[in-house]
């Protein structure tokens, strides 16, 4: 009996302190989109969300760039998690993230120059986006590559979803357009403040309000079901 108890954990994957509990892959993906959305629940990456969410095209560009960086860096960090010594892990993570961000930035400049110009400094600033370093530290550095990639896609799409909700609302109200196409005809007076910073704060507040209301409702439903 004793030998069995001692050998049992050793046979499995070595235990990593603070590792996320095992879950099926699709859960790793969906968590980032709904229950643990980086913007709406974790409240990370609010700076780029606020800054570039006044046009749907911006949201798409920023979302795709962030997904690319998040997935690539999560994969590499997960693969190398046993090679990277704990003392220099943050420096190494930042180095890996910065490399992929620069790749994304150069590719955007080369093949999507107009988008790259409107996003301006916010593409290089993905380096300091908390979502990416957060996932590297909390997740990718502690699990296998498949889970890390699933999580990267989930968190990335969750970020893009939040971006697109804000972008769509602000562009439609603020410029009367969607993806650059006029929606309401010439008589619509665009609410310009919506595409400026105050509109960003307002939209973000409304989005969090809706999320809070939805969460409360879910909780109440659950309580009713239990009682």
């Amino acid at each position: 009996m004793t030998t069995e108890l001692e050998t049992a954990p050793a046979a499995a994957e070595p235990i990593v302190i603070g590792a996320p509990p095992p879950q099926p892959l699709h859960m790793d993906f969906w968590r980032g989109i709904a229950d643990d959305n980086p913007v709406m629940i974790q409240m990370l990456g609010l700076c780029p969300t606020m800054a570039i969410s006044n046009q749907v095209s911006n949201g798409l560009g920023m979302g795709v760039a962030t997904i690319f960086v998040l997935v690539c860096s999560s994969l590499l960090i997960s693969l190398l998690r046993k090679v990277i010594p704990g003392e220099v892990r943050l420096a190494t993570y930042i180095l890996i993230i910065a490399t992929f961000v620069t790749v994304a930035d150069l590719v955007m400049q080369a093949y999507f120059p107009v988008l790259s110009k409107t996003l301006g400094p916010f593409v290089p600033l993905i380096v300091v986006n908390c979502i990416i370093l957060g996932r590297a530290e909390a997740f990718a550095g502690k699990v296998g590559p498949l889970r890390a990639v699933a999580d990267g896609f989930g968190q990335g799409f969750g970020f893009m979803l939040a971006l697109l909700i804000m972008c769509a609302f602000r562009e439609v109200v603020g410029s009367g357009m969607f993806l650059g196409h006029p929606l309401f005809g010439p008589n619509y007076e665009p609410q310009i403040f919506m595409i400026m910073p105050p509109g960003g704060f307002l939209t973000m507040g409304l989005m969090f309000l809706a999320m809070g209301w939805w969460g409360e409702r879910k909780k109440a439903q659950l309580a009713r079901a239990v009682s």
Binding site: I84, E87, L95, L106, P113, M196
Partner: protein
């Protein structure tokens, strides 16, 4: 946790002899990832350099053709010191060299020149391509190359399609702005709600004509065509 406290053996004993080799390993890890990052970036940079430069060049040419009103051909003069020259100075990048584009019509006659110039707007620099006729000082047009003016207000200097045509044929000697409709060739109507940005455009245009007209005249006097 309790394992560390109770067993005096394994963990500390394993940590101490490790420390020496550990710092070498840290150094090696960072050096390795630094080199790897450098390699990836060098490769991407080389692959993307040509399209990035091509786009930058095309953007300038489109702007030049637009402000000069579709010239048949273009000629370029480069600024060397404070004089113009037909040849690009050695060691200067073609895209970064200060230059003037000369637009010629089908008969080879000069219809105007285009230069890039910038001045501070409401937020940061407003950079324009300015086209004018150096003989008369009359403007042929301008195009915004870059600006970070307030969206919805100041950025009308770029987005309001009725603004740029107001400058056509105006004489920059120097050009002035006014809030009302005007037919005076030395005055141009600014945009309501974008007065500072409109004035920045006027400032850039005056600066372009003031700095480049004498240079072109000096070049012509010295026998350059």
């Amino acid at each position: 946790m309790s394992g560390h406290e109770h067993s005096h053996g394994a963990p500390p004993a394993a940590a101490t002899p490790d420390e020496g080799s550990s710092s070498a390993r840290l150094l090696f890890t960072l050096a390795f990832f630094g080199a790897l990052a450098g390699g990836i970036l060098a490769y991407t940079y080389q692959k993307t350099l040509a399209p990035i430069r091509k786009f930058a060049g095309e953007k300038v040419e489109v702007a030049v053709r637009e402000v000069l009103g579709a010239p048949a051909s273009l000629d370029t003069l480069f600024l060397v010191g404070d004089k113009l020259s037909r040849t690009l100075p050695a060691g200067v990048d073609l895209l970064e060299a200060e230059k003037v584009f000369i637009g010629l019509n089908a008969a080879g006659e000069r219809i105007g020149v285009a230069v890039e110039e910038a001045a501070p707007g409401f937020a940061a620099d407003v950079r324009l391509m300015v086209g004018f006729n150096p003989a008369t000082g009359a403007l042929t047009g301008f195009k915004v190359l870059s600006q970070t003016e307030t969206p919805g207000l100041g950025d009308k200097i770029e987005k309001d399609t009725t603004f740029a045509p107001r400058f056509k044929g105006k004489i920059a000697n120097p050009l002035k702005g006014t809030k009302s409709v005007t037919t005076d060739p030395g005055t141009v109507q600014t945009i309501t709600g974008a007065t500072i940005s409109s004035k920045a455009v006027i400032k850039v245009i005056n600066k372009a004509v003031e700095t480049w007209k004498p240079r072109l005249e000096a070049f012509a006097k010295e026998g350059g065509k």
